[in-house]
C-alpha cells in the first residue's frame, strides 16, 4: 500500500487476467488471490475470503464488485474504479468483436453445426453450476426441497423468479431451512 506503483500493478494484472478468464471470472480467482495476498501482501487471506462472501450475496455484477473491493483496499476509491474497469473492459471488447464476427456469418452451414454442438455442452454446464450452488446452499432437507420446488415451478409456470427468491429469503429468515 506504501508502494506508489501498487495501483498500476494491480490494474494491469486485473486487465490481463480478465482477458484470459475463460469460463468466467471465478476461474482466475485463485490467481488473483496469489497476486494480492501472496506476492504483494496487500490484504490477508481472511480479508479476501470476506470480500468473496460479500460479493456473492449482494445483487449486481458481483465479480466486478469483488475486484473493486480489492482495488479499494489497495488505493481507495480511485483504485476501486480502476479495478472495475480493468475487470470488465477488456472482456467487453472481446465479446463485442466476437459477436460481430459470429453474427456476420449468419446462417452459414458450419455455424449451425458449431451451434448444435456447443449448446448441449454449455447447458450441461449451466445445470451443473446450479447444482454446485445448490450443494453449497442446501445444508438441510427443507433447503433441498426449496431448490427442487423453485426449479419445478420455473419449468412449469411463467411466475416471476422474484417470488421464489422472496419465499426463499423469508423461509431462511424465519429459520425454517
Amino acid at each position: 500500500m506504501s508502494d506508489p506503483s501498487a495501483p498500476l500493478a494491480l490494474t494491469t494484472h486485473l486487465a490481463l487476467v480478465s482477458s484470459i478468464s475463460f469460463g468466467g471470472f471465478p476461474t482466475v480467482l485463485p490467481d488473483v488471490r496469489n497476486f494480492v495476498v501472496g506476492t504483494h501482501g496487500w490484504m490477508t487471506d481472511q480479508d479476501f475470503a470476506n470480500i468473496f462472501a460479500m460479493a456473492q450475496s449482494i445483487p449486481g455484477p458481483n465479480m466486478i464488485l469483488m475486484m473493486s473491493f480489492v482495488g479499494w483496499k489497495v488505493w481507495g476509491f480511485p483504485g476501486a474504479v480502476a479495478s472495475a474497469f480493468a475487470t470488465f473492459g477488456p472482456p467487453c471488447m472481446i465479446y463485442f468483436a466476437s459477436y460481430r464476427l459470429w453474427d456476420r456469418f449468419g446462417d452459414a452451414p458450419w455455424q449451425q453445426i458449431v451451434r448444435l454442438g456447443l449448446i448441449p455442452v454449455i447447458m450441461g454446464l449451466v445445470i451443473a453450476s446450479g447444482t454446485v450452488m445448490a450443494r453449497a446452499a442446501d445444508t438441510s432437507w427443507p433447503a433441498v426441497a426449496l431448490t427442487i420446488a423453485a426449479a419445478a415451478i420455473t419449468l412449469t409456470t411463467r411466475l416471476s423468479p422474484m417470488w421464489m427468491l422472496l419465499v426463499g429469503g423469508a423461509l431462511g429468515g424465519l429459520g425454517l431451512l
Binding site: G60, R115, V121, M123, T131, G172, L177
Partner: protein
C-alpha cells in the same frame, strides 16, 4: 422475407433507455453468482421478446466460451444485436453503473454486519431458491435438443463438473470438439 423486414423494424424500434433499464433489472435481480442468466432470459426473451430462446442459447454459448464475466457478455451481445455499438454501451452501462454504485455502498456496510445470523439465514434461503432457478433455466434451454444424441454431452458436461469436479476449461476443450463432430455427423445423415 416480410418476417425479416418486421424483425428489422423491431430492432430499429428498441429505445436505448429500454436496453439500459432491462439490463439494470437483470443486474439488480441477479443475486449470487450465475443467476443473472435466469433474469437475462426472463427479461430479454419472455418479457420484451427481443430475442428467441434459440438466439439466447447462442449468445450464452458464445459468452461462455469467451473470457470475462459471462452475464456482461449477454448485455454486450443483446445490445449489439438490437442497436449496434451504441446499444452495447446502453446495455452495459445499465448493467453496471447503478448496480455498481449500490453494491459498492451496500458492500462497505455489509462487511460490518456480515456475521449477523438472521442476515446469513436469509441469504442462504435466497441462495437455495436461486440454485433451483439456474437449474430450471439450463433445462429449459436444452428442451429443443431433447431428441438429439448430443444430449449425451449435456449429461457428460454436467457429470464431469458436478461429480468429477474437473476444471471448467478442461471440460470445455474436451467435450466441445466431440459435440461439434457429432453435430456434423447428424447434419450429414439428415441430408
Amino acid at each position: 422475407m416480410t418476417e425479416m423486414a418486421q424483425r428489422r423494424e423491431l430492432e430499429q424500434a428498441v429505445p436505448l433507455t429500454a436496453l439500459f433499464t432491462a439490463f439494470l433489472a437483470v443486474s439488480l435481480y441477479g443475486v449470487g453468482g450465475g443467476s443473472g442468466i435466469v433474469w437475462a432470459r426472463r427479461i430479454a426473451v419472455e418479457k420484451r421478446g427481443w430475442i428467441s430462446d434459440r438466439e439466447f442459447a447462442d449468445i450464452v454459448s458464445l459468452c461462455q466460451f469467451m473470457p470475462g464475466p459471462n452475464i456482461v457478455g449477454i448485455a454486450v451481445c443483446v445490445g449489439a444485436k438490437m442497436r449496434g455499438t451504441i446499444g452495447t454501451i446502453a446495455a452495459v452501462s445499465g448493467f453496471l453503473v447503478i448496480p455498481w454504485a449500490i453494491g459498492f455502498s451496500v458492500g462497505l456496510l455489509f462487511l460490518e454486519y456480515a456475521h449477523a445470523p438472521v442476515l446469513r439465514n436469509i441469504l442462504s434461503g435466497i441462495a437455495a431458491a436461486a440454485a433451483g432457478l439456474l437449474i430450471a433455466t439450463g433445462i429449459r434451454l436444452l428442451l429443443p435438443h431433447r431428441r438429439r444424441p448430443a444430449l449425451l454431452f449435456a449429461g457428460l458436461a454436467f457429470g464431469l463438473i458436478t461429480f468429477a469436479r474437473l476444471p471448467l476449461l478442461a471440460v470445455l476443450f474436451v467435450l466441445v470438439p466431440l459435440s461439434i463432430a457429432l453435430a456434423a455427423i447428424e447434419k450429414a445423415r439428415a441430408r
